[in-house]
């Protein structure tokens, strides 16, 4: 493959720098979270290092191939991801009562993470093909199918958090592309009918989650305990934090899921409000940078791809951080580039690669 020299000239060093900075702090944070853990096997922070490295390799792949070519194959990628979800349904590994993992040669892999990315580019492809023809109920049906199938597959694993996350991602893109008033009414009506219906399809433990969010005392061992301990951890960090490796909530293991869902609580406890502001500033820069790429992209698929990936990261931050400070229910959405998780790290790095892809090619005209 011949690569245009101008691509190097336009390489997005700011984006790469932000990613490395955030992932690096994340790894340091995992080191602390695992410090007082009687461990068997490789510690989380070294594993996360491997995932970041592997993610960077994947990123190189996703920014090297022109995003127009990737979007041309969007439906293929979508179908492959969907088949993996079906595989999970039949052969997936069951842990903690839900079937989310596919084990291949000893490696666990979560296809729902890949699906988030596949949905974004499938939507880009669909909007790009149908732009300017107006929306009919037919369009709506197809859109809902693209999102609906994976939504149900993931919701019945059951992983309602990830399923809802996908829905939010989808709605963000729909609003961004702009919909007619009529379609907006359809969506609103659909949502109003759908939401109470959902309540009946929820598993008991999922209803319990929502009730627990409203009243943390309901579930002393599970989510309620998680929220309380997380808030204590964050608050006790104060302005300047307790110091690296010195967070008692973390080191005494009062804080649950320190490596994954509540990794940010560990950070907030040990680095305090100052640290939180610094890290949140980096995240904010990342999002604004993504929106800047969206704004200056040279065509519609570019803008949509950049926007979709930016929203992927944004909602991840907003929901995860909202969760650890107790303004959202505990839904198991990792903090992008920060929480431990191989599948999510790879999917995010691949997404970042797409962002870079759009950024690098904004001055290059298609031949």
């Amino acid at each position: 493959m011949k690569i245009d020299r101008r691509l190097f000239a336009n390489f997005d060093w700011v984006l790469l720098g932000l990613l490395l900075l955030i992932s690096g702090i994340g790894i340091l944070n995992l080191y602390s979270a695992g410090y007082n853990l009687a461990s068997g096997g490789e510690p989380f922070y070294t594993k996360q290092m491997y995932w970041v490295l592997l993610g960077l390799v994947v990123m190189v792949v996703t920014f090297s191939i022109d995003y127009h070519i990737i979007i041309r194959h969007a439906y293929l990628i979508y179908v492959v991801s969907l088949s993996l979800l079906f595989l999970v349904f039949f052969y997936g590994n069951i842990t903690h009562g839900s079937q989310r993992w596919l084990v291949i040669y000893g490696f666990s892999f979560q296809p729902s993470e890949l699906m988030k990315l596949a949905i974004i580019i499938a939507l880009v492809r669909y909007f790009d093909d149908n732009m300017g023809r107006g929306y009919s109920p037919g369009n709506l049906a197809i859109l809902l199918t693209i999102v609906g199938i994976p939504f149900f597959m993931i919701a019945r694993q059951p992983d309602l958090g990830t399923a809802m996350f996908m829905m939010i991602l989808f709605l963000s893109m729909v609003v961004f592309i702009g919909v007619g008033r009529r379609l907006l009414i359809y969506f609103t009506l659909g949502g109003l009918i759908f939401a109470p219906l959902c309540w009946f399809f929820l598993k008991d433990y999922q209803r319990e989650r929502i009730l627990t969010f409203l009243n943390p005392e309901r579930d002393p061992l599970g989510a309620g305990y998680h929220i309380i301990q997380s808030i204590i951890a964050i608050g006790s960090g104060g302005i300047w934090g307790k110091g690296f490796l010195k967070g008692t909530q973390t080191q005494l293991r009062f804080l649950p899921e320190q490596q994954t869902d509540f990794a940010f609580s560990v950070f907030a406890e040990e680095w305090g409000f100052g640290g939180v502001c610094a890290l949140m500033f980096m995240f904010l820069m990342l999002i604004l940078w993504g929106l800047k790429i969206t704004r200056y992209s040279r065509d519609l698929p570019g803008a949509l791809t950049a926007f979709g990936v930016t929203m992927f990261v944004f909602w991840g931050i907003f929901i995860n951080v909202g969760m650890v400070i107790g303004i959202f229910p505990v839904v198991g959405i990792p903090l992008p580039f920060f929480s431990y998780g191989g599948s999510s790290m790879i999917a995010l790095m691949a997404g970042a690669g797409l962002l870079m892809n759009v950024s690098m090619r904004r001055f290059i005209l298609q031949p």
Binding site: S39, F176, G235, S236, F254, F273, I327
Partner: protein, 616 residues
């Protein structure tokens, strides 16, 4: 270039630009909300929450479930759970580690060296992780530590459930043992939902059915004091114990087999030929699985693994032996079924057989004279079978061995089963790059040479003669059930297939096996029990080629490891057999004189038990 709408694509950057401006404001708002909340928690409520974190004594403690029990076929418990007590110290809570350790040693009458080794790891380790300083203390010591707990800050007594193998070494190979999950095991997909402090089965049934035994952990929200002692339980979820497993093995029959063996190395298996149920399985020498409970000491482990008699190996399923004369059954079945001989075919045995430039001998010096098939089996005439082997050829023999399930794993519910070896011409070409020699077929026809079988395979083959041709899967497990005796999984008899030998020929062979025990010159005369009507076959498997000048009765002069293996397979009663037994004594000498008496004790014991049970 971004100003104008692109006519071709309908791309309108201006519209997006305005939208992006709105979205940027929304993103700022979102981040502002989050930061505001952090400000509220960390600055406004910071002091309050820091206090709460310092007083935070509420944590989740996992409660491990009890591992499932194992019962024998009559409901007697074979493996139970007991409690063992450990002492740990939390360095951060103990502060003065040296002082606490000395106090502990004084209270429990330990010598100064008993716990000093761990103090190094106490000082250098992580402050909040409890360090186990003493394992497996007795109840009295535990009581002393508990009553003095106020003087012993940071000292915690852990109750650890341990497995109790009631029958010790007698059943070690069936039941296996348990231990802490190892690093490599944790990495394997089967153990994906295990954690680094879990106990897993390491071999035997414990390993094979680990997922059923495991159960589900519960947890408690407990209030602990500064030293980590529990003050209050605030709520929790009970663990659910693992499933219990019922075996087909009977503890009483197993004991009879074990006692009959008396220190000899070898194996005995008892099977029900009507179902394939394994009623007893002994492998000797054995080991005490209780030794592994709290981690076996290095010395003991070394001793077990270095023992030339391999006590850890389950000879019944992973021992591979030349079948010796017991293999003649397969040769005879093949010759009959192929129409090469009838039951009346007579061959003259003068004690030798010439194949090429090699002379093969019959075990009986001077030969048996004129023998037919019945007498050839009864008196185990080698020359008769040398001739049959020559007629059949190696590949035909292998085909029939396969019919009897030899050369394949039986699929019994135990890890580490071996498949045995049934040689063919192709096998030898691949393995050695040499063509098959005719003389090798001659050795093969009396179960010598390359052929290897596992004891379990061999017994199953004889069961197929006993039950009229059905090859059952050997079934060790009868049932898996919940604690309140609800069946989770049943293990009914599984027919693997039918051997392709006609009913008539099976009857001829079965009658000959009866003769081998009951006829005047039968090699299995030791089992002669008119009322029980035993059928059987002896076998003497040479470990090295028989030297020309040794005869069988100078066993004592030969070095142990070069002595023959003694085999005996039998079933009873002749009409509708209910029990089949295999006995192999390694390097024991002659099958008829060493293994047959052991089999006799098992047969007698079995029928006594049956009678007693009927009376009840």
């Amino acid at each position: 270039m971004f100003g104008k709408q692109d006519r071709l694509t309908g791309y309108d950057p201006v519209r997006f630009r305005n939208k992006i401006r709105v979205i940027i404001w929304l993103v700022f708002l979102a981040f502002f909300i989050l930061i505001a909340r952090f400000w509220y928690l960390q600055a406004v409520r910071g002091d309050n929450l820091r206090q709460r974190s310092e007083n935070n004594r509420i944590r989740i403690q996992e409660i491990k479930p009890l591992r499932g029990l194992i019962m024998d076929t009559h409901g007697n418990i074979l493996v139970d759970n007991q409690s063992s007590f450990d002492i740990s110290i939390i360095p951060e809570a103990a502060k003065d580690i040296e002082g606490v350790m000395n106090k502990l040693a004084g209270l429990c009458d330990w010598g100064p060296n008993a716990i000093s080794r761990e103090s190094a790891s106490l000082k250098s380790g992580r402050p909040f992780i409890p360090v186990r300083v003493c394992k497996n203390i007795d109840r009295d010591q535990m009581a002393v530590v508990e009553t003095n707990s106020l003087d012993l800050p940071g000292v915690v007594v852990d109750i650890v459930p341990v497995r109790e193998y009631i029958y010790g070494e007698m059943m070690a190979h069936i039941l296996g043992y348990v231990g802490n999950i190892s690093g490599p095991e944790l990495g394997r997909a089967v153990y994906s939902d295990y954690r680094s402090d879990d106990i897993v089965g390491k071999c035997g049934i414990e390993k094979y059915l680990d997922g059923y035994f495991k159960g589900k952990s519960g947890g408690e929200q407990v209030e602990v004091d500064a030293a980590g002692r529990r003050l209050n339980v605030l709520g929790g979820v009970k663990p659910s114990p693992g499933y219990n497993v019922v075996l087909n093995v009977g503890a009483d029959l197993q004991k009879i087999c074990w006692d009959a063996f008396q220190e000899k190395a070898g194996t005995a298996i008892v099977m029900d030929p009507r179902t394939g149920a394994v009623m007893a399985m002994v492998s000797s020498p054995s080991f005490d699985p209780n030794l592994f409970n709290r981690g076996i000491s290095g010395d003991r482990w070394k001793k077990l693994t270095a023992d030339p008699l391999c006590p850890l190996q389950n000879r019944a399923v992973s021992g591979q032996y030349p079948p010796g004369s017991t293999y003649k059954l397969v040769v005879a079945a093949a010759a009959l079924e192929e129409g090469l001989i009838t039951e009346n075919t007579e061959i003259f045995c003068d004690g030798t057989y010439q194949m090429g430039d090699r002379t093969f001998r019959c075990w009986k010096k001077g030969g048996h004279g004129k023998v037919n098939l019945h007498r050839a089996i009864v008196e185990s005439c080698d020359v008769y079978f040398y001739h049959l082997g020559e007629m059949l050829g190696v590949d035909k023999l292998a085909e029939y061995a396969g019919e009897f399930g030899l050369g394949y794993k039986t699929g019994i519910a135990l890890p580490g089963e071996k498949g045995g070896l049934i040689p063919t011409k192709e096998w030898k070409r691949k393995k050695y790059g040499e063509p098959w020699q005719k003389g090798e077929t001659t050795s093969l026809s009396i179960g010598q040479g390359f052929v290897l079988v596992t004891p379990l395979q061999l017994l199953r083959a004889y069961c197929a003669i006993a039950n009229g041709g059905i090859l059952y899967k050997p079934q060790l497990i009868k049932r898996i059930e919940t604690v309140d005796r609800q069946t989770v999984r049943d293990f009914p008899p599984e027919k693997e297939g039918f051997i392709s030998v006609s009913r008539k020929n099976i009857d001829i062979l079965k009658y000959a096996l009866r003769g081998a025990v009951n006829d005047p010159h039968g090699t299995g005369g030791a089992l002669k029990r008119p009322e029980k009507d035993v059928c059987g076959k002896t076998g003497t498997a040479q470990v090295i080629r028989m030297r020309e000048d040794t005869s069988d009765d100078v066993v004592g002069d030969i070095q142990y490891k070069f002595r023959d293996h003694a085999l005996f397979v039998c079933f009873a009663p002749y009409k509708d057999p209910t029990i089949a037994i295999l006995v192999i004594v390694e390097h024991g000498g002659h099958g008829g004189s060493v293994s047959a008496p052991i089999a006799r004790r098992i047969v007698d014991g079995y029928f006594n038990l049956e009678q007693r049970r009927k009376k009840k």
